[in-house]
């Protein structure tokens, strides 16, 4: 089963994404901060990672930078979730190694499609 790691400090977002992706048939691991995202990613070696940009301890961009340094994570797709007002951060996100980004508020269906597309590209 395809493994996906989601990191977001907002319980609503976490639940919405979790529900949609479990329904689509993925195996989900959910965490609420950047530090946990790094450690769980190392433990579970997911096939795709979804990160919120603004998170406690490490931001989504910092997590991306950190993970991209590890050889196992060089080619794993990373999707960033960012608030509409923080769209400028996407440039930094892409520079850090993110594969795609979505702005919040988001459409769960669109997210599922992007996840599928990113996985098939990979």
């Amino acid at each position: 089963m395809t493994k996906i790691l989601i990191a977001d400090d907002d319980p609503d977002i976490l639940e919405l994404v979790n529900y949609k992706l479990v329904q689509t048939g993925y195996d989900i691991t959910a965490v609420t901060n950047g530090a946990d995202a790094i450690s769980r990613a190392k433990e579970t070696l997911p096939d795709l990672i979804i990160l919120d940009v603004m998170m406690p301890f490490y931001s989504g961009i910092e997590v991306t930078l950190e993970l991209r340094k590890i050889p196992e994570f060089v080619s794993i797709p990373i999707i960033l979730l960012t608030a509409k007002s923080m769209e400028l951060d996407t440039e930094k996100g892409f520079a850090a190694g993110a594969s795609d980004y979505m702005t919040k508020p988001f459409s769960p269906r669109e997210l599922a499609t992007r996840v599928q597309a990113a996985l098939s590209r990979n």
Partner: protein, 375 residues
């Protein structure tokens, strides 16, 4: 006597034991009830998430108990702000079917400002289009927080038709909408409200015209350039003229250059001269260089600083006038040196291969770095 005493002590002890026992049971029951309620609340939250993500609506039998007043709305509102498109529409139609939207609209007419604020926020977060009249009516509330909540909600609805009401509320005596709240709402509505904002620039209220000028600049409304130039020249309010100057700089129309140059003249108020100068810098037209360079002989610190910084952004002509002032013995050369130093620092980051400027060789960089980081 002794028997009566023993009897009363026994009865009293019994009463205390019964009372303690009942209190424990009641506590336990209450705890259990709030636990069960929390579990039910979590279940309803899960149902709302499922409803938002899924295509199918949960049946009424899933809602076995009535939630406490406003809890369904609170749970839904929190999730509604995170999703968009069909997911949000599904959530809204579910709440419509539960009567929550009608209830919220009704609550905007009730007494009590907290209830009104909550209702406005609920209607705005869910983008309920039919709530517009109710929200517009709240703009006339005597309570400032209610007016702010209503403006925010109207911005979230994003209907250009609500712009006249928002603008009118800026100049209502005693019931004024705070300027910032209006600006945020107008920005949320965005460029689709351009026509209404342009019309608002001709309004009678000073704050209304100021808000319109500000927004037209932010949304980069090229078609409003002439109207902004007219108001920059002729408006009776200095605040409106200043905001027009700023808007013209943001829009970047070369048509505004000559007017903004006139804005630098001595007989204008200082804030207007400062903003005109900055806007000319944004326009980047070399035609403005001599007029701005003239300000370098001013005795006003703010004007000198702004003129020097603006010249450093302008073409090579502006740069030349700065370097010649920096090389001179004028008392104002410090301003030119600082502007050149700032420019050099920025250039060094972008193009590190550039040669350093000769006039800056003996510049007091220690002092510069202090102010640079404070700035």
């Amino acid at each position: 006597m002794k028997v009566a005493l023993i009897l009363s002590v026994t009865l009293l002890s019994l009463a205390i034991i019964i009372f303690t026992f009942l209190t424990i049971i009641l506590r336990f029951w209450r705890l259990n009830r709030s636990k069960r309620y929390a579990l039910y609340r979590a279940k309803v939250r899960k149902l709302i998430v499922e409803l938002t993500v899924d295509e199918q609506e949960p049946s009424d039998k899933n809602f076995t108990r009535k939630l406490k007043l406003g809890q369904l709305e609170e749970l839904s509102e929190s999730i509604a702000t995170k999703v968009k498109g069909e997911s949000k529409d599904r959530l809204v139609s579910f709440l419509e079917s539960k009567g929550s939207v009608t209830k919220a609209i009704r609550r905007t007419r009730r007494i009590g400002s907290i209830g009104k604020c909550n209702a406005a926020s609920f209607l705005g977060n869910l983008s309920i289009a039919r709530a517009r009249p109710a929200l517009e009516a709240l703009l006339g509330s005597r309570n400032r927080e209610v007016r702010i909540s209503a403006a925010r909600a109207l911005g979230q609805l994003g209907q250009p038709g609500s712009i006249p009401a928002l603008l009118d509320s800026l100049d209502k005596t005693g019931k004024q909408l705070p300027f910032g709240a209006c600006i945020v709402a107008l920005l949320d509505i965005g460029p689709k409200g351009e026509e209404y904002i342009l019309a608002g620039l001709e309004g009678a209220g000073e704050r209304q015209r100021a808000a319109c000028a500000e927004i037209l600049g932010i949304i980069n409304s090229i078609r409003s350039t002439q109207a902004l130039i007219d108001h920059f020249q002729n408006d009776l309010s200095i605040d409106v003229r200043i905001r027009c100057a700023r808007a013209l700089g943001r829009i970047g129309s070369p048509r505004a250059v000559s007017q903004l140059i006139r804005g630098l003249e001595d007989d204008n108020p200082l804030p207007l001269r400062l903003v005109s100068c900055r806007s000319l810098g944004q326009l980047g037209d070399p035609e403005a260089v001599p007029a701005i360079a003239n300000l370098l002989i001013s005795d006003n610190h703010q004007l000198l600083n702004t003129a020097a910084q603006t010249l450093s952004q302008l073409s090579s002509e502006g740069f030349k006038s700065l370097t010649s002032l920096a090389a001179s013995h004028s008392p104002n050369r410090e301003y030119a040196l600082e502007a050149l130093a700032r420019k050099s620092v920025k250039s060094a980051v972008i193009e590190p291969q550039l040669e350093p400027l000769e006039v800056l060789f003996d510049y007091q960089w220690d002092k510069f770095w202090q102010t640079y980081f404070e700035f």
